[in-house]
């Protein structure tokens, strides 16, 4: 197969870090906070690399949109087995306003430019839990509320990865060293003809309200009385 796969990898605050809202409520604290690849993006990369190892696709391209540090995330993808990387340079105000609409425009433009047949992303999307590659269609098994659903889709296609798709590999030390020789191209959104203006404006960011402590009661009568007292019934 001569297909190319594009995988989006996003640099996000590490999942183990406790997120805090900035005092001026304009966003969350990111300075000095540990960032890493979104765990679902790791699953997406793993799936793409497995397809390549099965010789079903030819090349895995890792893409990240963001400031200079996004290149670290691309390096991790390269160390996991991606062939080359594309860093879409978006920084400052543009980066703060970068929403799903802008990113999808960028990915679509890149997919056209690089002649990509399949885009794999971390969820939220079609929640694939198993992917089977056929000649020019894809058989995707996905988990839905009622159980499992198998669908056949034509390519080019976009598939998103759910938790149970695979177990991402480690970046082994030899692969980290090999990854340094792999290429990362930098492009600007304007090169792709994408307009980054956003229709959304963030007004304020707040922490979810603290969970109040519960109260234990002895009997059902007590429960009803307490519910009445607090005006809930």
């Amino acid at each position: 197969m001569s297909a190319r796969v594009l995988v989006g990898v996003k640099r996000v605050i590490d999942y183990a870090v406790k997120i805090r809202v900035k005092p001026d409520k304009t966003g969350v604290v990111t300075d000095g906070v540990k960032h890493s690849m979104n765990p679902f993006c790791e699953i997406a990369i793993e799936e793409a690399v497995r397809l390549k190892e099965k010789k079903l696709i030819k090349e895995v391209i890792a893409v990240s949109c963001g400031p200079q540090q996004s290149q670290e995330t691309i390096r991790t993808a390269l160390a996991m087995g991606a062939d080359r990387g594309i860093h879409v340079d978006v920084s400052g105000k543009d980066y703060e306003n970068l929403g799903p609409l802008q990113v999808s425009k960028i990915l679509a433009a890149l997919a056209k430019k690089e002649d990509v047949r399949l885009i794999i992303l971390g969820k939220q999307g079609t929640f694939a839990s198993q992917v089977d590659f056929q000649e020019d269609s894809l058989k995707v098994e996905r988990e839905i509320d009622g159980g499992l659903e198998t669908i056949k889709i034509k390519m080019p296609a976009v598939v998103t990865a759910d938790l149970r798709l695979n177990e991402p590999r480690y970046a082994t030390l030899p692969n980290i060293m090999k990854a340094k020789k792999k290429k990362i191209d930098t492009v600007k959104p304007s090169d792709l003809g994408v307009d980054l203006s956003s229709q959304l404006e963030v007004l304020s960011v707040e922490e979810p309200s603290q969970r109040q402590a519960g109260v234990k009661v002895e009997t059902v009568e007590d429960l009803i009385k307490k519910l009445r007292d607090s005006g809930r019934i």
């Binding site: 160390a79 030390l173 340094k180």
Partner: protein
């Protein structure tokens, strides 16, 4: 090749007594690659070593699956040169990895580190054939090796070892007893130091020879696995050598060069040992801090009582300083300079603080700390050996005093 790395500059001031001049050293760290190495080691330690460590501590069994996994990820044998199939990493990189593994379990980390210790004489003194033969195989499968110098009757006093090697034709016949050999039962081959000059008056730097010995050579008899206070999953044994025949091709450098080879290895292996102790101390600090932020007493969390927060502060001071000490020692040797002074300081300091910090962690946990259901009592048991192996705390002080005084004498 280095186009994409960010430089972290650290300034160190060193005063050269004779000239009263200040030299500034700038560390250039290949920041990105080292961060990635460290991240892989950290992920492996936290996700795979930590959950399994209590089991291996209880049973004392050799952690074969963890070692195999570390080998697959490239975390083991980092010093092996590239022409033997290794990564050829510097000591600094190795230290970063070692600290992360030790954070998970120092028993597992010691088993892995003993490989580096056994290999180091071959890396620094082996000829091409020896390197290809004995280092090459380490890159092909997850094998262990061991460093055999200590004996039941001689530990710190290396010149007092009695294992003898007699030359007979093209071979040497080895007879003697070694003790406390890490990986003794699991090793595929050993680095062995034996006395080749029977004259008791012969000086240390001419009387000993270093050998590489295949573990399956007839006459090599590993003893029983010793049950130790801590790092219990690490395999420590006595080994008896009875009429063991070693070809002369397995001599490192030549007859009489053994002492220098054996000691030269330490300058490169002491910084990682210090890094291991630092990893243990960091773990103790993290566990104590988490507990102190959860446990409440007298109306507030432990950490908000100054007595406890001061304990944590001093633990933090010690951990940070130990880290800087081993990084300096590692960097000096990677730059090609003799680092004996810094390596001994790092190892002595890190070993001492690891014990203090682990003990403090048990204290912060109170009664719970003494109990095996909580992770800190293991840290205290594991920490003790850092003041003993790879040069006791007292030997380090002898070395530091000697190196320090040498700067002042003309």
């Amino acid at each position: 090749f280095y186009a994409n790395f960010r430089r972290v500059c650290v300034l160190f001031l060193v005063m050269e007594k004779s000239k009263q001049m200040y030299h500034c050293f700038i560390i250039k760290i290949n920041h990105e690659q080292q961060k990635e190495f460290r991240d892989t080691a950290r992920k492996f330690a936290r996700e795979e070593i930590i959950p399994a460590a209590p089991h291996y501590d209880k049973t004392g069994e050799f952690p074969v699956p963890l070692i195999k996994r570390a080998w697959e990820l490239g975390l083991m044998n980092s010093h092996i040169p590239e022409h033997c199939g290794g990564l050829g990493l510097g000591i600094f990189d190795a230290c970063l990895i070692t600290e992360e593994l030790a954070y998970g379990c120092t028993g597992v980390q010691t088993a892995i580190e003993a490989n580096s210790l056994g290999q180091m004489p071959v890396i620094i003194a082996g000829n091409n054939d020896q390197q290809k033969k004995y280092l090459g195989r380490m890159s092909e499968e997850p094998l262990m090796c061991a460093y055999c110098v200590t004996e039941p009757g001689a530990g710190s006093d290396v010149a007092g070892i009695k294992t003898r090697a007699e030359k007979k034709g093209n071979e040497y016949i080895i007879n003697g007893q070694k003790m406390w050999i890490t990986n003794g039962g699991a090793a595929n081959w050993y680095f062995l130091l034996a006395r080749t000059d029977p004259d008791p008056k012969a000086p240390a730097n001419k009387a000993f020879t270093g050998f590489i010995i295949d573990a399956d050579t007839p006459g090599v008899q590993p003893g029983r696995k010793e049950i130790n206070m801590g790092q219990r999953c690490s395999d420590t044994r006595g080994i008896t050598f009875e009429d063991v025949r070693v070809p002369k091709e397995n001599v490192l450098i030549g007859e009489g060069a053994g002492f220098k080879v054996a000691m030269g290895a330490f300058d490169k292996t002491r910084p990682p040992v210090a890094a291991g102790a630092t990893g243990l101390a960091q773990r103790a600090l993290d566990e104590a801090t988490k507990y102190a932020l959860e446990r409440k007493t007298f109306g507030k969390v432990l950490a908000h009582h100054q007595a406890v927060s001061f304990i944590l502060a001093e633990m933090a001071m010690k951990v940070e300083l130990a880290r800087m000490a081993y990084q300096r020692a590692a960097w000096e040797v990677d730059e090609g300079r003799r680092n004996t002074y810094f390596a001994s300081i790092a190892k002595a300091f890190a070993g001492d603080i690891a014990n203090q910090v682990a003990s403090d962690a048990v204290q912060v946990f109170g009664g719970n700390g003494f109990n095996s259901e909580y992770p800190v009592e293991k840290l205290m048991r594991d920490a003790k050996i850092y003041q003993i192996y790879e040069g006791t705390a007292q030997i380090q002080r002898i070395i530091i005093a000697r190196e320090h005084l040498a700067k002042y004498t003309v």
